[in-house]
């Protein structure tokens, strides 16, 4: 009796397995069909002069520039067909920015990496360690990038990504409002305080606050920490990485953060970054702690906007008042790509001598390579003056877990859920945790 049961089980098992095999092949054929077609085309391509076919998968994190990049990809397809006789199909994916990292990581771990993908320059170190970035030092593009930008995308002298968005940034301000009340950009915290007083007494809200997305309040720490480290405690970050520092040392940054929060627009937690840019453009407040990347939305909302940039002061030492030099978005090539030649060709094409300027200008990106010959916007020039005067610092590379934590805690701080002491304690802990995982 028992053996019969056993036999039945085995039988059923075998059947199930054979079904599995059937199912498996079924699926495989469905999926492989496209691949088979592709290789067929390859073969015919090799024997005659018909173009070879290829696919290039690109993932980018800024859906707001979908149109610009889509047409750029089309240009690339045409160029490849004309120059190399390759019929490229570019699959451009633009997940929304809050899901971008999730999708990218699932893909990279799932051995399904896109051929090219964007990432924040501050993450280059982490991704490089995991072996996800190809070395681009030998490419033509390497020679075109400005030296100070190149530093931000290189590790140990190896160029690992193509910079796309790079900027000097600080606080955006409405020049018309400033002119109306005879105000000039502040050099010290006291200056900023008196600006706020003047504006308040004239019924103008000084700062626009849009804290709904964590990365926006986080910009305040980005600017103030950079100020204090470059002007006052140069070894702070280094010590933080060795568990020998504390946020207690840079507590000063809360002076200006308090000032901004106390002099800002209402309902900050309900205001997204884009909505904030739009509101700033129509004059709801005079200043906005936001990078120059917001300029596109601002100028689209109000083309007559007179936009300016100043460095955020944190104390009464003008030496600490500097702008932040950072590269936010970069484009990397996945080293395991099947189409290395094409992927590299695209990376080079991003900084193409003939076409790149138009693309960068249409997205209001700043010029960052010798191939960019367009006139940069007035606010970019204004920020560049700080750089020229040596009043700038390279964006601090803080682990992204800590950066996220900063944004979260500042949100909590704004709604009154936490205190400065708690923030210091939690940030120290977050930094140590990240260190311990290395």
């Amino acid at each position: 009796m028992k053996s019969k049961k056993f036999l039945a089980c085995i039988l059923a098992g075998v059947m199930a397995m054979s079904m599995a095999a059937c199912g498996g092949t079924d699926v495989a054929t469905a999926g492989d069909e496209a691949a088979a077609n592709g290789s067929e085309a390859m073969e015919t391509g090799a024997s005659t002069e018909a173009p070879t076919e290829a696919e290039l998968n690109i993932m980018m994190s800024f859906p707001q520039y979908m149109d610009q990049w889509e047409s750029y990809c089309h240009k690339f397809e045409e160029k490849m067909l004309a120059e190399k006789n390759v019929k490229v199909t570019v699959n451009l994916e633009m997940p929304s920015s809050d899901q971008y990292e999730t999708i990218l990581q699932t893909r990279l771990t799932g051995d399904d990496a896109p051929d090219l993908f964007t990432l924040h320059a501050n993450n280059i170190g982490t991704y490089n360690q995991a072996g996800n970035l190809a070395d681009l030092s030998g490419e033509a593009l390497a020679g075109k990038i400005y030296e100070n930008v190149k530093e931000t995308v290189s590790v140990d002298g190896k160029l690992l990504a193509v910079p796309i968005e790079s900027q000097a940034w600080g606080v955006l301000y409405n020049k018309d409002i400033f002119a109306q009340y005879d105000l000039t950009p502040p050099e010290t915290l006291s200056d900023l305080k008196s600006i706020c007083e003047t504006l308040n007494s004239n019924g103008v809200t000084p700062f626009l606050l849009a804290f709904q997305e964590q990365w926006v309040p986080q910009l305040m720490t980005g600017l103030t920490l950079g100020d204090i480290v470059s002007g006052k405690i140069p070894d702070w970050l280094e010590r933080m990485y060795k568990d020998e520092g504390s946020y207690e040392e840079v507590k000063e940054i809360f002076d200006v953060i308090d000032l901004i929060m106390a002099n800002g627009t209402d309902r900050a937690m309900e205001e997204g970054s884009e909505a904030g840019s739009a509101d700033f453009a129509i004059g709801k407040a005079a200043m906005y702690v936001q990078g120059t990347w917001a300029a596109n939305t601002i100028m689209a909302t109000n083309p007559d906007m007179n936009l300016g940039v100043f460095a955020l002061p944190i104390n009464d030492d003008p030496n600490c008042t500097r702008v932040n030099l950072s590269t936010s978005t970069t484009l990397a090539v996945y080293p395991g790509t099947q189409n290395m030649d094409l992927a590299l060709a695209f990376a080079n094409y991003v900084l193409d001598d003939a076409d790149s300027s138009e693309l960068f200008q249409s997205c209001s990106f700043n010029p960052l390579a010798t191939c960019h010959n367009y006139e940069s916007s007035s606010w970019v020039k204004e920020a560049s003056e700080y750089v020229a005067a040596g009043k700038a610092y390279q964006d601090l590379v803080i682990p992204s877990a800590v950066t996220d934590e900063q944004g979260r805690l500042l949100q909590e701080y704004y709604v009154g859920d936490t205190t400065v002491e708690e923030i210091i304690q939690k940030l120290d802990l977050a930094f140590q945790n990240t260190n311990s995982l290395k």
């Binding site: 699959n91 920015s97 899901q99 399904d112 939305t297």
Partner: protein, 276 residues
Amino acid sequence: MKKKQLISNCLVYSFLFIGALYTLFPLFMALMNSLKTNGELLTNVMSLPQQLHAENYTRTFEKMKYFRSLGNTVLLAGVSVTLIILFSALAGWKLCRTKTKLSRFLFGLFVFSMLIPFSSIMIPLYKVTLVLHMKNSLFGLSLVYAGLGVSMAIFLYHGFVKGIPIELEESAGIDGSSSLQTFFYIIMPLLKPITTTICITNVLWVWNDFLLPLIIISNNKKYTLLLSTNTLFGQYSSDWTAILSALILAAIPVIIFYAVFQKQILKGIAEGAVKG
């Protein structure tokens, strides 16, 4: 007595009326504001649109590649639900009619897994689909839905079969004909009420599911309706008119589906839940 009746009627109906207002409010606001210009929307969200700005719709319609996404979603939901019904009707019926240790074990296995949260199987599941070359395949995705959906459906079929007298099957001559034939000609028709329910709940589940297609489908030619809508959020995050018109466009098919099959849906949901 009559007066009392009137007052209670008034109370009940005003309660229901307020409830209905609350339910329809977001839908109505979305519809109304999607027909305005962005400037109009920003100045007054409560006013009726001065002019119907259908161009919001034509723009999002094109951007979403509406018909293609809709077709993909219909295909995905159709195949997934067919598989779920076929697979789980076979299993659910047999599991209920067989009284052995193995059947109890299998049934327990299916039911137990209903509690496993999706987040804990997400990445391993993604790896499985890659190994099987199911990436970007709508058919592959429907197999995944079948795998995730069978346990609940088996549970429902199992419960339903329990209520069917076994004599019905026996009188049909289960010994004479092969089991599979019995199944399709005798059992399936008997299961029709619960099949409708399972069909409806699963169509809604697959249709409205977001995270799974998000990680499995990356080729925008295969995008489902929700995925296309989601890409629009990123592109127009400050333009509420564009977002709202996309939301309405994404909601329209389910609302039509609801309008047409309302009776079956409501009946199916109730019966499914109570019998399960």
